[in-house]
């Protein structure tokens, strides 16, 4: 719809996946997994509602479609949302409460190394851009933290990140996601 989709496509294809840009409900047909990219959550939610994609997408993810959500994608899925636009709501599919731009404005955007559960080898380069802040979590598994706050969580087949792996050369998280989607499809 809007945001850093091209970078996700590049990363997923480098992991051997075939990709498709989803802009209408018909585009959801036959997917093994979906990425909700970073961007402006208000813009994405409005566009999805306008073209009738919001409902079908919510149903598909709710029914177990493997999903990788980064930054704005996490906001779109969240159970509870603060500092959003008036009346802006999450899909309620991810049991976290997030504050939009919770780390501050662009001058506060940062990079930090993260240790992520399940990833072998060195720490992961976390790129945080006007990132949401996870204020509390419910029934999710926290797989990485920064300054004591969750920055990566997993719930069923949803993996949600506050940071942007697609802006780095590190493909480990995308590779894990492709593996999860392939396993779910078979």
């Amino acid at each position: 719809m809007q945001g850093a989709f091209a970078e996700h496509i590049r990363a997923l294809e480098a992991c051997g996946a075939r990709t498709r840009v989803v802009r209408t409900a018909e585009d959801l047909e036959g997917l093994d997994g979906i990425v909700l990219p970073g961007g402006e959550s208000t813009t994405m939610t409005m566009l999805m509602e306008r073209v009738g994609l919001y409902g079908p997408l919510r149903s598909a993810i709710g029914a177990g479609l493997p999903t990788l959500a980064t930054c704005a994608g996490m906001i779109v899925l969240a159970r509870e949302l603060s500092d959003g636009m008036p009346a802006q709501q999450g899909m309620g599919l991810l049991d976290v409460a997030v504050r939009r731009n919770g780390y501050g404005r662009q001058v506060d955007s940062f990079e930090a190394d993260l240790d992520i559960e399940g990833l072998a080898g060195k720490s992961f380069p976390g790129v945080f851009i006007r990132s949401p802040l996870v204020e509390s979590t419910g029934d999710v598994k926290i797989i990485a933290t920064h300054e004591g706050r969750a920055v990566a969580v997993r719930q069923g087949r949803i993996v949600a990140l506050c940071f942007h792996p697609e802006l780095t050369k590190d493909l480990r998280l995308h590779r894990e996601f492709v593996r999860m989607a392939a396993a779910a499809a078979s």
């Binding site: 945001g3 850093a4 208000t42 813009t43 404005r105 662009q106 955007s109 851009i129």
Partner: protein, 305 residues
């Protein structure tokens, strides 16, 4: 597992790197950035689906009409717009006016546009943008100009077009010139790249990067004269990553409706049936200006080099 060592991570946090500066522009892609002059406008822009707003005192069409020196906007206005919306807020400073840029950074705006729409403050140097934590977007008319701005630290580029005219012809010219400049690099060997770098006045390392990527190394938006959904889609089909709309929205008859239509057209730029639907019944577009009717010394795109 990271639990418990968050503070250790925190010690290593790095702010204002080029990656996070250019990264915000990546998040804006496929979106529309709208010029707004009041908090009320900013809310309309956000409600229409804008991915960011540009806070300024006068839209380019009014700057053009009223003349005089155009400067950075009053911080009170910029603050009121930052408080009114949750999407990123950009603001303009004059070309070369690094103190206006320092002021905007202190205000906490999310992006600075070093813009030819305002009256240049330095006729020789653009701002050295590397030391700033806040990212910059700059205008260009061709590849050389784009790469000079990137070498000065711009984290995002836009075509200059001819702001405040509602006439897309200059934006098209500039987008095509950038594309042609990049296509020309394909297949060049090192010696030819060095020669080309000299001709267009840009660092050879950046030419090499463009050659390798087949595009600019940072996000590139279209700006200057976009007034209709079809204009936005035209620029997207010419390969830009998103669009700025200045006077085109709030100088039209029904700003909210037009803004929504331009947002949809930017996402569905390659679906003419969607464009047909959103283009219908928008009311009057801004009146617009023919470029040859503008005296040469009033052309904004000629500012900067």
């Amino acid at each position: 597992m990271a639990e418990g060592n968050g503070s250790k991570n925190g010690d290593r946090a790095l702010k204002g790197s080029f990656k996070v500066k250019a990264g915000l522009a990546q998040m804006l892609k496929g979106g529309v950035i709208m010029d707004v002059v009041t908090a009320e406008h900013a809310k309309i822009a956000q409600d229409s689906g804008a991915c960011a707003v540009m806070a300024l005192e006068r839209v380019p069409a009014d700057i053009r009409k009223e003349g005089g020196v155009a400067r950075m906007s009053d911080p009170t206005l910029i603050r009121s717009i930052m408080e009114a919306v949750t999407i990123p807020v950009m603001a303009k400073c004059r070309i070369g006016h690094f103190v206006e840029a320092q002021v905007l950074e202190a205000l906490g705006v999310d992006y600075i546009d070093e813009s030819e729409v305002l009256t240049p403050a330095d006729e020789e140097f653009h701002i050295d943008k590397h030391p700033f934590k806040v990212p910059f977007v700059c205008g260009c008319r061709d590849l050389g100009e784009a790469l000079r701005r990137i070498s000065e630290g711009a984290a995002m580029i836009r075509t200059k077009g001819e702001a405040g005219t509602g006439n897309v012809v200059e934006a098209v010219r500039h987008a095509r010139a950038v594309n042609a400049g990049i296509r020309k690099l394909q297949g060049m060997n090192k010696a030819e790249l060095v020669h080309e770098a000299k001709l267009i006045g840009a660092p050879v390392e950046l030419l090499e990067e463009c050659q390798r990527l087949g595009r600019l190394p940072v996000v590139n938006f279209a700006a200057g004269g976009i007034a209709t959904p079809a204009d936005a889609a035209l620029m997207m089909q010419l390969g830009v990553d998103g669009v700025f709309v200045g006077s085109g929205i709030f100088k039209s008859e029904d700003p909210l409706k037009r803004a929504k239509a331009i947002v949809a057209a930017t996402t569905y730029f390659d679906k003419p049936e969607v464009l047909a639907e959103v283009s219908a019944g928008l009311g009057k577009a801004m009146h617009g200006l023919e470029i040859p009717a503008i005296p040469k010394d009033e052309l904004l795109a000629a500012r900067g080099w």
